[in-house]
Symmetry: C2
Subunit: 336 residues, 2 copies
DNA sequence: TTGTAGGCGTTATCAG
DNA sequence: CTGATAACGCCTACAA
């Protein structure tokens, strides 16, 4: 392993000088020394030892992308295909800024704390955090945190989110404008202050606005795994009191649509359906899925920028970015 | 930050003893001291500093999951939904064994080398490596490497793969048994010694075995992004000389099927199609996709076990595991 | 403009 | 059975 010492020896200077040059503290170093050092670095192929740096500087350049799992569940890190969409985008921008991305699943607060201290983690990303004990633990941490798709805010954190309420509202109004009155709402569990509850609110208000009574029996909450979503489609297929479904995730919409079709119902002839996210899958269903579009890579990018601003102490104007959504018309909704 | 020193002081022993207890070198420590130390560790919430460990022991417990990107391309880390499926599985098992997972994209060999030395990376995962300059660089590394889905082998590495040839063969024979003769082959670029070329070989041999002449014009190679796969479906829809398609990825099959359907062709009435992987998407198409099944979580699990065996110097019998595949009949193939 | 020295938290060696 | 001590690679006062 080539160390700073090696290159200091080769050039005939001290470690300090080498270190200074590496860090651009070039004010008090002769131009010649600088280029000599840089040459040696290239030649010997010097690469900094991050562990040593981390040890001495209490900054590690390690960013954690945390998945908070319920202790009993046996899920994998990336369940929803949408979730995984911006990990790539995040890794890319972090890397370009000299950071490293660790993926880590934690079950308890203690797990998370241990992880942070194990590596002197510089910053964290979370998605879909709720206002629970876990969040309480988060706010005590003195590590920059960026929350994605979370409706919990705190002066210590930044948030990147979406016009979820508007998305729910637009989707529902769109269905209403197409003559639908019996509109189901399908989603994962609606949790207080979560993305889904915002979308649900949009749904409710669009209904209210058109004086369509809200019927609790048209709200379906379940997991996002394929089997469950298919089953939901099959169940809805048996009923005659639903003409349209607003679904809070494309993956859910696709499952429900498949369930409906496998039960002999036609989309959109018998039942209209609208999704959320605008992931690739929208193009794979027939008919293609009408949905609420969001820009996942941009979300990732903004999240990283937030984190980096916090890390580099760049003064941050806003601590929150709400990305716009818009409706994309495809073929899964019809006029009745 | 609580250090080993803190707990040594609290208990009234030396750092050495604490370190020894932590590492289970408990042979020469009194039972009382041991429990005292363990209590203090719990009470003070001691967590090891991995950087310090890494610095002194030249083992970091960091495992890299590397994505090798062509320098110009602007892809994200996880393009194929199948690819992402076992990252979760890998993270889980690594974690259970005391390792940490870093995601990293590299463009050049130099990038990779720098990353390895930055963190004293203990081991690496790669997927879909070919026999190119990049691979040449890999074999020079003295780091345990597990290759996933790669048909390059080397005494220094372990491989986890699939019965790709058999998969291609079974899929094609299945189509032939259903009366098809005009069978297209759709895949990403067929590269020498790659997964796809093995599947292609299976396709060729199944054809040969039934004395069906191979027609190069029925081989379609393109990217896996949705737009391209849809376009392929549309193109095939225009032809009348194809009754069935073997596709080397479900995501591709789904796109082609959608393209066909959007062009007014019926699956499987007009054209039969069979996929590969058996990802969730198979259940979302209508008809559901007949495909070649593989067990992605198991693949991840075996890959990690391989790596850990290498890391812990466990003697390894085989350096290669080929996972079995089997055909799953659903609704996208019909008799003609 | 450059060098010296101390220390970050941990482990290993070797002596008590 | 236990404890000093040096070393890992790097950074930062402070000194020259």
């Amino acid at each position: 392993m080539i160390t700073i010492k090696d290159i200091a020896q080769k050039v005939g200077v001290s470690c300090t000088t080498v270190s200074n040059v590496i860090h651009g503290k070039t004010g008090r170093v002769s131009a010649e020394t600088i280029s000599l050092i840089n040459e040696a670095i290239d030649e010997l192929g010097y690469v900094p030892n991050m562990s040593a740096r981390s040890l001495v500087s209490s900054s590690s350049k390690v960013i954690g992308m945390i998945s908070h799992l319920a202790p009993n569940k046996n899920e994998s890190f990336i369940e929803d295909p949408f979730h995984s969409a911006f990990i790539g985008s995040i890794e890319k921008i972090l890397r370009e800024n000299g950071y490293y991305l660790m993926l880590r699943t934690v079950e308890t607060t203690a797990d998370l704390l241990a992880f942070l201290r194990n590596w002197n983690v510089d910053g964290l990303f979370f998605t879909g955090v709720f206002e629970d004990e876990f969040f309480e633990a988060l706010i005590g941490l003195n590590v920059p945190i960026v929350l994605i798709d979370s409706y919990v805010t705190h002066p210590n954190m930044c948030n990147v989110g979406l016009e979820d309420y508007k998305g729910g509202y637009l989707a529902t109004r769109y269905l209403i404008e197409h003559g639908h009155k019996d509109i189901a709402f399908a989603s994962p569990t609606i949790r207080e202050r979560g993305v889904v509850s915002e979308r649900f609110l949009g749904y409710r208000n669009a209904l209210d606005e058109s004086s369509i009574p809200f019927r609790p029996e048209l709200v379906f909450q379940q997991e996002l795994d394929i089997a469950t979503t298919l089953a939901l489609g099959c169940n809805i297929a048996k009923r005659n009191d639903i003409t349209a479904i607003f679904t809070t995730a494309d993956i859910l919409a696709a499952g429900v649509m498949a369930g409906l079709q496998q039960s002999g119902r036609k989309v959109p002839d018998d039942i209209s359906i609208i999704g959320f996210d605008d992931i690739n899958i929208c193009h794979l269903t027939s008919p293609q899925l009408t949905t609420i579009h969001q820009d996942a890579p941009l979300k990732g990018k903004l999240a990283v920028n937030f984190l980096i601003d916090q890390l580099e102490q760049t003064p941050i104007k806003d601590r929150e970015i709400i990305l716009p959504i818009h409706l994309v018309e495809r073929g899964s909704v019809r006029y009745i």
